[in-house]
Point group: D2
Chain length 342, copies 4
Amino acid sequence: MNSAGRLFRISLYGESHGPGTGVIIDGCPPGIPIGEEDFLQDLGRRKAGAEGTTPRVEADTPAILSGVFKGRTTGAPIHIGFRNENTRPDDYASFMAVPRPGHADFTAAMKYGGWQDPRGSGHFSGRITIGLVAAGVVAKKVLGYCAPNPVQFATRIVSAGGSEDVTAAVHDAAEHGDSIGALVEIRVSGLPPGWGEPFFDAAESVIAHMLFAVPAVRGLEFGDGFRAASMHGSEHNDPFIDRSGRTARNGAGGINGGITNGNELVLRIAVKPASSIGLSQKTLDFVHNRQVDLQIGGRHDACIALRSMVVLEAGVACALADLALTARALSPYQSNIPWRQE
Amino acid sequence: MNSAGRLFRISLYGESHGPGTGVIIDGCPPGIPIGEEDFLQDLGRRKAGAEGTTPRVEADTPAILSGVFKGRTTGAPIHIGFRNENTRPDDYASFMAVPRPGHADFTAAMKYGGWQDPRGSGHFSGRITIGLVAAGVVAKKVLGYCAPNPVQFATRIVSAGGSEDVTAAVHDAAEHGDSIGALVEIRVSGLPPGWGEPFFDAAESVIAHMLFAVPAVRGLEFGDGFRAASMHGSEHNDPFIDRSGRTARNGAGGINGGITNGNELVLRIAVKPASSIGLSQKTLDFVHNRQVDLQIGGRHDACIALRSMVVLEAGVACALADLALTARALSPYQSNIPWRQE
Amino acid sequence: MNSAGRLFRISLYGESHGPGTGVIIDGCPPGIPIGEEDFLQDLGRRKAGAEGTTPRVEADTPAILSGVFKGRTTGAPIHIGFRNENTRPDDYASFMAVPRPGHADFTAAMKYGGWQDPRGSGHFSGRITIGLVAAGVVAKKVLGYCAPNPVQFATRIVSAGGSEDVTAAVHDAAEHGDSIGALVEIRVSGLPPGWGEPFFDAAESVIAHMLFAVPAVRGLEFGDGFRAASMHGSEHNDPFIDRSGRTARNGAGGINGGITNGNELVLRIAVKPASSIGLSQKTLDFVHNRQVDLQIGGRHDACIALRSMVVLEAGVACALADLALTARALSPYQSNIPWRQE
Amino acid sequence: MNSAGRLFRISLYGESHGPGTGVIIDGCPPGIPIGEEDFLQDLGRRKAGAEGTTPRVEADTPAILSGVFKGRTTGAPIHIGFRNENTRPDDYASFMAVPRPGHADFTAAMKYGGWQDPRGSGHFSGRITIGLVAAGVVAKKVLGYCAPNPVQFATRIVSAGGSEDVTAAVHDAAEHGDSIGALVEIRVSGLPPGWGEPFFDAAESVIAHMLFAVPAVRGLEFGDGFRAASMHGSEHNDPFIDRSGRTARNGAGGINGGITNGNELVLRIAVKPASSIGLSQKTLDFVHNRQVDLQIGGRHDACIALRSMVVLEAGVACALADLALTARALSPYQSNIPWRQE
């Protein structure tokens, strides 16, 4: 339930205010060079610090606890752990009686009968995504070996709070004690054709499974996406323009029939505004069954998408690594040279 | 790869122009009344016939071939099969040399080295979705037993080709030999809180995995969806209004932290226009490496979303049945009565 | 629950006296030549007819219903179906009140609350193993492509009813209306080293999972097997004798640390005597709660192992095909040439 | 590949001489009381110290690193970690050139291309089983909630080195620098009827999958086991003796048709003698391609089964917990009161 993947399998554990969090990565082929320094860039992109992010400061130092020997993956499960250092295991009891709107406080209580760890959202915390970022780093390494060409990720915020001037929008939200949602775009170039399955493990399905697991994701589209719902077929038409399978406008976002087509993978994710804001919110006191004003203390992420970007990118990388290994297993034993056939 | 689900597992098989297609449903609890007549309504919604749909006419008579005895599920795998009667296993070879834009002709050739069944798109055909519709019927029955209240599906086309006058838009497209995309909305009421998992098997993830497997899906959003990317937190805020967990505007679409919250499940799916249209299209002749005009014979679906609706609904039902059974397995042994805790 | 395998996945369906039974095989690579005639030899080995087998005669004609085109696997799920022709859907009701000893009548009732199909043991019938035999045929084809050398199976009955004169023992049991158990040995040559995983997907684990699913299996051992429990390490010692990894006495039966070592795979399976015999048996009438004499009508298998042999062999083949494809996916990207390392 | 289970899922990580080892347990229902002290007894049974065990002394202190809050399981993944303290990461290089007979040195090198961690057998070490023992403790707690009666495990060594005087046999082997195999019996009482599946997830299959993953296991049998291969049906016959499903001699070892029948679960496991012994062994020097004498330094386990017992018991417990949760999910919605049916 907290694992994903058929061959490249990741399992997350941890709570926001427990001793630590991390990830076990199973199914990583042996012989791939990897060291703790390989994680620093992506982990840095997830850290707080910039305008619009919370001030919780964690060292976020990855510890490779298994599966790597003399700087190479061994083929055994890779455990990457992170200590929680800046924990404040207090001030949570009230969320049991007055669950925060837009959070998992209520649903966790209903699912777990009240036994969940409520400190800082427990296992539902954004803190848990650090393990996914670490897995994404390993996944990108795997992709480097599976794909014939370099696989490159380009991830950006297209707009935030409806504005394309992201910096100004974030600044404005932060100043007003408010938060804003954002539209994130991920592009991946260098993927070969042939990854993914015709039905349940369609490339879109495997990617979507990962991305909707990331907190705050509300929507996902590939290529033309929701715009396709308003298009005509004649306009949507996207002819091949060369024998490598390149199409005129890549409207499918790199996938046809669940299988990569060799064009750039293009997807966009709607990230909601953080529900915890400085401003006071109305909500229900479940004990006294009455509306109350909820003021959530501390400073907050004005635009969580700033930190989600690398998490989402990691989710895409893990999904692609799994598809790549499956393609390796199930590739044909001989070719029929299809387009020479009469 | 063509199976989905942890407990309520479905496996599809078949090709468009082979002897038949169908589904194996494993993990259906015993004792649930089911008969062939239960399938007719949903199968009817998937059939061609109405304006805007292809004229391929299949009887679509379901045969329950295992797992049901004296009108009740037995607990053994349920096999529901459909014969293909209206097959025309011809006229496909050209698609190997001149793969249709927007279809899986090219990607299948790349993935399978040319060994795929090309007749009528083979295993990539929309024909294969009939098994998913059948599984959806069984899933809805399971939901009827797992949820304390009746679970109701409401599925509609919000707009087609950008217009809310769906009938007119479809008529217009059909008349011009063109096709149109559509926005489909599915609402499910009666779900209890507590289904879904905090991370990789988030309710959204499990649903998304199913829906992106359905041909022609380009995007998926829950609740506020892509609109959330443009919102402020203060506007997005959605307070609880009673102790059942009802919220003011159900902006989350019925899911928080990956777990159902007891509000209506609300999701929207972008369905692209059918790529096969009556109008001539440009594309590449891979044999001679030159642009050609492609005329795809026969009549076509002017708006495939008309027939996809029930397929998508079935995908949601199967995902929910799987979540429901998992929730049954992993529910707490005793309750902590959460909101009375200090 | 009725599926097995990570990549080479098989799903069985059907009941003894329903319309038919079969198997869906997912994860078979494309381009492998296969036709209905390829199944006849192994299906023939499973058929009744010889002395010591039941007289139920089925044509056992395999129908390849999907996944094969022009004599080659396409990469899509392969559905192989068998009609039940010789059904007698009567005479079962008594088994609900007076469950047969050694059968699943009682446990099925407890598990399924009485909703199971009781006709001829329903989904618990040995009839269901025909799909596994068919999957085994496909698995052997896959092995032919995955292993560098020909993979050969040799399966025999070592002893029956404690006697090495199997023919005489079977004849004697049949004559007395009794049945006998048997010890089956399977040897597989031609396997390369490196298939299997260090822990939960140890080659023995994956094989054992399959074999203990086959009705009537009571025990399984690899290499020295139970004899190893009585051995000393100095005697058990099995040195390598050449650089290919060949060992002096292959005491491990071809597997070390969960991974094939390139020696012959050797395993033995204990098959119990058929519980249904011509002789009268004591058992309990659950309705009247008293001991009764049970006479199970018809003729019976005097030695079910005669027909189980090919089923067990098929189970081993399917397990090996799955291990082979996983090894293909997770093989190292470069080699370290281990034994030259200091 | 290093995970097992459908609902009660366990994932092991770690190497013998790395920083530590442990287990992630997913799918444990919330609200179950558990603390570090609960692990001490079973961990103690696995520790070295008694005659016949190696002198490697580890504190084996379990650290519950996630999934437990205020002494109760939360429903989130439970991470139990163990530090390696008594590591000696030396003296392994020679095993690359001269792989130890009966160990995974050779197969690991072939599988991983030489990239495996060779220190103290790395991920293949018996050290890794400590996580399985910890998971077994949690599994036993789960069983306490799933079964209507107390579930009790009784595990013993039936014989060692062929002798029923286990103490003397172990002493003798230790004195001679040799090792001995042993036959382990596990009995589990208190299981209700109805756990397990008719085919691939037969109770025996799920248990066997776990047990054959444990190092040094060479054989497994249920109930009559291998003796059944020599029996006649009339002798093997095992009538029900009361309406609870109790049978006269429990020859099936508690399972019929893959499903528990409410009788005691009885299984026996053949554990081979430790391959590393004090006595000199012949083997191959792969670098120089010649036979050499191998002397494996240090002291050794004279009878590894002494320490494997609790590991095997834990494997059975984990398998049963998984079956129990699946049974909870898929139990019938209503009963047909089977044996009143005509």
